[in-house]
């Protein structure tokens, strides 16, 4: 009268076959497999991301607020790619001038030029010039500075986004603006100008108001008077892109694709732990309650009803605030409270199964309570519990994300929630940095959709009553 291993195997196989027939479920399941694969490969796909997320040094070479590379395909205009020059294009030894040639063929020119110059000199000071020669012959002198030499070497960093860079850019634009509007007493001020674009803008009346990309060949010239030799390692130029990588960057240059990978990992970890623990506890609680019935059931149900009345959100806020901003505290709270709803469903199903003849038969044949539960009830209820437990995963992950936005993000891990919380903190919405919002949220949506459809398909397979709907 007992269920044999073969029976369970057969049941599992037939369930699998039936699951394959559920189209939505199969789509959802593929999403889960995809997320799982990404998580498992995260150390290789996205090295040095986890602990380094808040370390600006890790992301220094990236562009700020760059759109994903595929933005060109879906949005009008072309964006400058991220272009790192480790080697100069030309070296003029007579004046010790190095040149970088940049072809701007984009509607959105580079977001920044960052120049690192270093070298050796026997003088105590050198004079450094950094110059941008535009296709229209105009010339912007960004740096004209004396640099002191210590121990025979120097290193210098310049960026268009530095205050000097911004000043020069604005001056250049303002000059051009004055040519067109000589009587304009209140030209647009620096804050309102799209200043990063001015050095690459057409010299027309819109240069300050609505700059247009001037396409053509630009030459960046660096001249260090008094230098002996440039240091090849330390001398390089970044033409920072307007697009970068698969998911772009945030306003702190962080590569969102790398964060996303770890977001998937942590989502599955916290969701997985909570879901597995809830399934186990709920099975144990629900089945015990259903199996013993009577006053045991009564007490267990009353207790569960009280637990069901406890709101989880305020508890999460208060514990994470008071004890620590950690995803493990969130996991703990969900482990403690997450099983209660599932236990109620399991109990109801368990009572049905208990009335099934073979459990009664097993009892009458003298199987012990524990044996009846493990041999007869678990095989029936487990698939059901798994189906329902799958639905918990997105719930927990979304809760984590929400708490992050409230300011309770775990600073030691990268989650989709943390990425979104930063997006909110740095006003990604009103700056139009759509990828920063869309992509982490898409992670949450994929996860939710994946587990909900899989769970529902499973539910349909294990609960024939629902199939008729």
């Amino acid at each position: 009268m007992s269920i044999r291993i073969d029976d369970i195997k057969e049941r599992a196989l037939s369930m699998m076959k039936e699951f394959k027939g559920q189209r939505m479920g199969m789509i959802g399941f593929s999403i889960i497999i995809f997320l799982l694969a990404i998580s498992l490969l995260s150390p290789w796909l996205a090295p040095d991301t986890d602990g380094q997320w808040a370390n600006p040094g890790r992301w220094e070479d990236n562009p700020r607020s760059a759109a994903p590379n595929w933005a060109d395909y879906i949005l009008p205009g072309t964006r400058a790619p991220h272009d790192i020059r480790e080697d100069y294009d030309e070296l003029d030894r007579t004046f010790m001038t190095i040149k970088y040639v940049y072809e701007n063929e984009y509607d959105y020119p580079p977001s920044d030029i960052t120049v690192f110059v270093s070298g050796t000199s026997s003088e105590s000071r050198i004079r450094l010039y950094i110059d941008l020669i535009r296709p229209d012959g105009e010339n912007i002198l960004f740096v004209d500075e004396s640099v002191s030499i210590t121990n025979g070497t120097f290193s210098y960093r310049f960026s268009l986004r530095s205050s000097a860079g911004r000043d020069r850019s604005y001056d250049f634009g303002l000059n051009a603006h004055r040519d067109f509007f000589p009587d304009d007493l209140t030209p647009p001020d620096r804050e309102s100008v799209n200043i990063q674009m001015v050095p690459f803008a057409k010299l027309n009346e819109n240069i300050l108001l609505d700059p247009e990309s001037l396409k053509g060949t630009y030459t960046l010239e660096v001249e260090a008077v008094g230098i002996d030799e440039y240091d090849d390692e330390g001398t390089r130029v970044l033409f920072r892109g307007m697009k970068y990588g698969l998911m772009g960057t945030d306003s702190n240059r962080k590569n969102l694709a790398l964060g996303w990978v770890h977001g998937a990992k942590y989502a599955l970890i916290i969701g997985g732990i909570v879901s597995l623990s809830s399934i186990s506890i709920a099975l144990l609680y629900g089945m015990t309650s259903a199996y013993y019935g009577g006053w045991v059931d009564e007490i267990m149900q009353r207790a569960n009803e009280i637990l069901l009345g406890i709101p989880i959100f305020p508890i999460l806020v208060i514990t994470m605030y008071a004890i620590g901003r950690s995803i493990w505290i969130l996991v703990l709270i969900y482990v403690i409270l997450g099983w209660r709803g599932l236990a109620k469903i399991i109990r109801a199903r368990g009572i049905q199964i208990r009335q099934d003849t073979y459990v009664e038969a097993a009892q009458s044949l003298g199987s012990s309570g524990g044996r009846v539960i493990t041999r007869h009830m678990i095989p029936q209820l487990l698939p059901y519990a798994i189906a329902e437990g799958a639905l918990m995963i997105p719930m927990v992950v979304i809760a984590e994300a929400g708490l992050s936005v409230l300011g309770l993000a775990d600073p030691t891990v990268v989650t989709w929630g943390r990425m979104l919380s930063e997006a909110n903190q740095y006003h990604a919405t009103i700056s139009g940095l759509w990828w920063w919002i869309l992509l982490p949220g898409l992670g949450l949506t994929l996860l939710g959709f994946g587990f909900i459809t899989t769970g529902m398909a499973l539910e349909r397979v294990v609960n024939p009553k629902m199939r008729q709907r």
Partner: protein
Amino acid sequence: MPASLKYFILRSINAVIVLFIVVLIIAFLYSDMADRMAEGRIADEVRAYAGGLPTELTQEQRSQLIREERARLEEIHGLHDPFYEKVFRRTWDTFTFRLGESNSRTYYGASDARVTTIIQHYLPRTILLFTTAAVISILLGIGMGLKAAQVAGTKVDKALSIFGILTASLPMWWVGMLVILIFAFSLGWFPAASYPFPTETGYEYYKGVLIRMAMPLATIVFVSVGGRAWATRNMVTSILQDDYIMAARAKGIPERKVIYGHTLKTAAPPIVTSAILSFLLSIGGAMITEVIFNWPGMGYLLRTAIFAESDMPVIMGIVYITTLLWVVGYLLADMLYGFLDPRVEVGAEKKV
């Protein structure tokens, strides 16, 4: 109706127990922080006291007096009471709305530092946004679900189901971010932030509030209505398969009456309760949505208290009020169920 009376009483007792447990947890977690806050306040007062002591006292006399004063103040603040006593005192204080004073000097724009005052300042806006959204979403969702159930199996029905499943897996506040991106940033139809509230009076004021409310409201409704409709649809289709519906049809009752009478009236208790419960469950999401839209409600206050001020008493107060709202709402849902379904008995399984 003694059976339903017993049901109501048991439910109420449940609610009180739940509230007590949560408040106990709050008090437990609060106790340590409250002690530290009290220590800080005592240190300030002792310093003031020491400054006011007559100068002709000897060093020894001074420190003696200061020590006594400190001990007196510590006694007043109950710093040396046993832990459980502190926890229970705190529990009782919370229960009776003695929520203490905010650490922040800004009072968050309220008229004084008392946490109750601050919450009173913010709560009505949350309730305004949340209940408006709930009413719209429930009415619309039930209507859509009913229609879908009547055309079960058709393309419209399937589309609604997919919409319901898709939106159910979306975080509400994330949709809010997208809404801002689209309707405020790209199209510029609405202001991106709800705050500050309009300063005009009369008609202009209400118009201003409405414009600010449009996006958060639309977001909450958009995210919740599909799931609501889907749940309603499933409940109604399962009832439509019940025998008494067939019997009612055989009796020649007009189809409209079968749907809006027999079916809907039977479906009402689970539909209404599950609507209320799922709205209560979305309280967290809605509070975060407030943050996204800068809607100056409880969620906005909570984030400010956490992020900008690290203001424990205010956070505690919000947590308590949120819990209270939840517990009352939960109880209300239970009561409503008992009221709507003549069959209700203690322990009866709800079809939620």
